[in-house]
């Protein structure tokens, strides 16, 4: 059976002599792995379509175990991001998040649309750390890990609490957080940004000016939240830090 779908390329790895095993996030089928034949050869017309973080229209032939990519048309390769190593690495980080968090063959059209708009935003406007954090939080929300920020996640009491519990996925009131060892203190600008990101959209977010300290704290919080619930480590973050150190 043949089918076609717009897809974002997450990564590819060598497979046999000149083939690659491509992991992609397709609009209709969700995350899947497919074989792209002969793409290491210079004459391959598929090669550009299956580069990491390219947006392509791909045509598949359903196989017994793995599907085969038969044809493709490049829709966008985010050329500006590709010319800048920092933007490239952050786009790859988005791909890593998708790779390590999505289940195979579970379509997520809203997340697909969001990923496209974030890649487009980075390509057109440059790197914006708040937009990246927005993607991390929205990914968690789409996966069912929406943090409860305006009431106690345990007893439902309303109020401005400061203690966030990773395990419970929300704020805890002083009564419920008694004896809690692994709480994260969240308040002020960081908490405000989190609430805005949880309910706002990309248009409102790009007009927000956040302080460097708040962005740093937000990044650390979301990193811990992602790692706790997805039980994965994200290697790109480390590479970005090493490269930043070496280039500075």
């Amino acid at each position: 059976m043949y089918y076609q779908s717009r897809s974002l390329i997450i990564k590819s790895m060598d497979y046999r002599e000149s083939d690659k095993l491509v992991t992609l996030f397709s609009e209709k089928e969700g995350k899947l792995k497919a074989i792209a034949r002969g793409i290491k050869k210079p004459g391959s017309s598929l090669r550009a379509c299956v580069q990491p973080f390219c947006h392509s229209l791909l045509f598949f032939h359903q196989g017994r175990e793995l599907d085969l990519i038969t044809q493709g048309r490049l829709l966008d390769f985010y050329g500006n991001s590709r010319e800048d190593i920092k933007r490239t690495l952050h786009c790859m980080y988005i791909m890593e998040l998708l790779d390590k968090s999505l289940m195979d063959r579970a379509a997520m059209p809203r997340l697909y649309g969001l990923t496209l708009s974030i890649l487009q935003y980075i390509n057109n406007n440059g790197l914006n750390h708040l937009v990246l954090r927005y993607f991390e939080l929205q990914l968690l929300i789409q996966l069912g890990y929406r943090p409860v920020l305006d009431k106690c996640v345990n007893c439902g009491r309303q109020g401005g609490f400061k203690n966030f519990c990773l395990e419970a996925g929300g704020m805890l009131c002083p009564d419920c957080s008694a004896g809690e060892q692994n709480g994260i203190v969240l308040y002020g600008e960081v908490l405000g940004l989190l609430k805005l990101m949880a309910h706002g959209n990309l248009n409102t977010l790009q007009r927000v000016q956040a302080s460097g300290a708040a962005l740093e704290k937000l990044e650390l919080f979301l990193e811990r939240y992602l790692e706790y619930h997805l039980e994965r480590r994200f290697n790109l973050k480390n590479t970005i830090r090493v490269l930043k150190k070496s280039l500075s």
Partner: protein, 197 residues
């Protein structure tokens, strides 16, 4: 169908080689059985010798049976230029171009999403060569993919720290290729790297 155990064992071992599928493994195994005994022994001995006697050169990482390798010993080569490659097979390709400088082979598969770290790359000998003051230019001949780009930037940062110029191979159209069929990414790189004639 049940096969003789030694034959089955041979097929199983040939199957471990890249690009060899079950049918090819069976064909190769049957061919080996038909070979004269001396030739089969020679083949087995060649595999053992290559495995035991060939190792990466301590200076450049190229595969050799003497240390330093014949490239590092060659005094006619230009020692001021150091070409960094991912694999030993890339050196064979570079040698065909007539390049006469020295090499450094990383010999490590680096994947951004796996548990690889840039700091885990074995770069001691590379850094020593930069620090010696002999090298004036580092040519980064890594694959034109994202991993290659990241390693190139990292190595360029190290070279810069030692006051050594870092260059990388140009990206663009293959000789004899057709612009009409070139992909957008390659064409954009080719346009950016255009030269005055």
């Amino acid at each position: 169908m049940r096969l003789a155990r030694p034959l089955e064992n041979l097929i199983d071992n040939l199957l471990k080689l890249p690009t060899i599928g079950p049918k090819t493994a069976q064909r190769l195994a049957l061919y080996i059985l038909k070979m004269p005994a001396a030739e089969a022994r020679q083949l087995a001995q060649a595999i053992i010798d290559a495995r035991e006697k060939v190792f990466p050169c301590s200076r450049c990482g190229y595969l050799t049976d003497i240390d330093p390798c014949f490239i590092c010993r060659d005094e006619t080569r230009d020692t001021s230029i150091l070409c960094v490659a991912e694999e030993a097979s890339d050196i064979i390709a570079m040698e065909r171009t007539g390049y006469r400088g020295r090499y450094y082979v990383l010999n490590k598969n680096f994947n951004l999403m796996d548990d690889n770290n840039l700091e885990d790359l074995n770069l001691d000998s590379f850094i020593n060569q930069l620090a010696s003051g002999e090298v004036k230019e580092v040519v980064l001949a890594l694959n034109p993919d994202i991993e290659g780009e990241v390693i190139s930037r990292y190595l360029a940062g190290l070279a810069d720290g030692h006051g050594v110029k870092a260059t990388r191979l140009a990206h663009g159209l293959p000789v004899g290729g057709d612009i009409e069929f070139a992909d957008e990414i390659t064409l954009r790189r080719a346009l950016e790297g255009r030269k005055e004639i």
